[in-house]
Symmetry: C2
Subunit: 283 residues, 2 copies
């Protein structure tokens, strides 16, 4: 029976998990590297108690590592010294293969996870209730992951109100390369291309005329640079594969326009219009 | 003194212009190729009267051609036979150079225009009041366009509540190639690339996991195929120029990721984050 939840990293995701699990009767203990964040987390009711010491995770049944991708492995390395043998460890990183590989070798009861929810905000003050309701929560066990650990994480994900998906870490990373990481680069490339215009008057005009098409297509490319670098580092092989396909598709569009093959262009745009409708999007 | 307004093409844009100008005391006469649209336009109060005959435009001081790009020139060719010599003709097409070239030679009092407003809807039922308030309205005279005609159109654009910009047709087309037409192709390419994944299980997973990043980046690429073809046909040279710059920028991003030059990638993403903030966007 899972009773004690540990959360390492009290930001938007870690904090929101804490709020929801406390409201469902769990005892939630938080760890942050900053004393001030620990105080704020307790004040906001995000956790029952918090400290800067990973050793305080000894009583946890399940520990969520909710730090940025780049520190998950080193946190896990320190954390496992303090855990009780049956403890389940999971993470919320947006790339899974390298994390699952590294952390499973440190702690067999590790289950990779990726709750696909967020807001434009970050940090403990951004934590909100019900962030995960109706959102996908991907759980990525390997053939070696103990079933009881996988089921424990999935049970909590369902308690958060998420739609749970189970797949291998590699499948996850290939899927998100296309739908999450490729959009960042395609979108950043749009901003970079528009910024390359040499004529200042024209750039100024474009900045005033830009409307919802530019706004939406450029949004994720104008986002957090550190996050963009992190997903590119951790999901490099799959992202490069997606980018290579993207470049081929781009060349096909360019070729239609160069050769004035309007029938082919219309056909391609009809296919993309139809293909987009197959995605479960909120609009 | 402008008193009588003619509108050819009673869809979202033409209808919305009619609603606003009637409310400001103009007499508005509409022409549509479909009798039913004429009836609906009168019933909805979009126009004072309407018919299917361009000859009924004889009394108009200013005529707005609000049909799709592909029919503006042929409409103008028929229209000019019926106009009084001082009448001003303008259009609302999203590409200007070929339109201004063709129609100015038919009617010297022609002023190209592009009100940059819209909704996801189309047709007479989609017409709404105040669609143009606070939106850019680009007016694209040439050196030969009579000043009185330019000023007449700008005055009406200001009455609609728009922010008026004046530039040459070529400048307009280069600016919108980057901010309006390139996003369509970059966005469609994203959908095409994701649809190219051969593994059906993976496509199915991706369709369920796609979230706001994919939703926003793919939106304009999943839009009306006819519109996409039309802007590519009419703004082909400038769009190809933008696409060529885009491909170069894409190759630079790919090169950073291939060579694992994370500092360079972060620098590029910081520049795009900063560059996007220079656009006057509603979010």
């Amino acid at each position: 029976m899972i009773m004690n939840i540990g959360i390492v990293g009290l930001g938007l995701i870690g904090g929101s998990i804490g709020l929801d699990l406390r409201s469902r009767g769990f005892y939630v203990f938080g760890v942050s590297s900053r004393e001030e964040t620990c105080h704020r987390a307790v004040d906001r009711g995000v956790v029952d108690a918090a400290s800067v010491n990973l050793s305080d995770m000894a009583a946890a049944d399940v520990v969520f590592i909710c730090t940025p991708l780049g520190s998950i492995e080193s946190i896990a390395r320190q954390l496992v010294r303090h855990l009780s043998p049956a403890a389940i460890v999971t993470d919320v990183g947006s790339v899974k293969t390298p994390i699952v590989q590294a952390v499973s070798s440190l702690w067999p009861n590790f289950v990779g996870g990726h709750p696909m929810a967020g807001t434009a905000e970050s940090g403990i003050e951004a934590a909100v209730r019900d962030l995960f309701v109706g959102r996908p929560y991907v759980v990525t066990p390997t053939a070696e992951t103990p079933a009881v650990a996988v089921e424990g994480v999935e049970e909590i994900a369902r308690l958060l109100g998420s739609d749970v998906y189970r797949c291998g870490p590699e499948e996850h990373d290939r899927a998100v390369a296309g739908i999450s990481h490729l959009p960042i680069v395609a979108s950043a490339t749009l901003v970079a291309a528009c910024a390359k215009e040499g004529d200042r008057d024209l750039v100024n005009l474009a900045q005033h005329l830009a409307s919802s098409g530019f706004r939406d297509t450029s949004r994720v490319g104008g986002g957090n640079p550190e996050l963009g670098v992190m997903v590119a580092r951790y999901n490099r092989v799959e992202l490069l594969r997606s980018l290579s396909i993207y470049r081929d598709c781009l060349d096909e569009f360019i070729s239609c326009i160069e050769s004035e093959d309007w029938q082919a262009l219309e056909q391609k745009l009809k296919l993309t219009q139809a293909a987009r409708k197959n995605y479960k999007l909120s609009n």
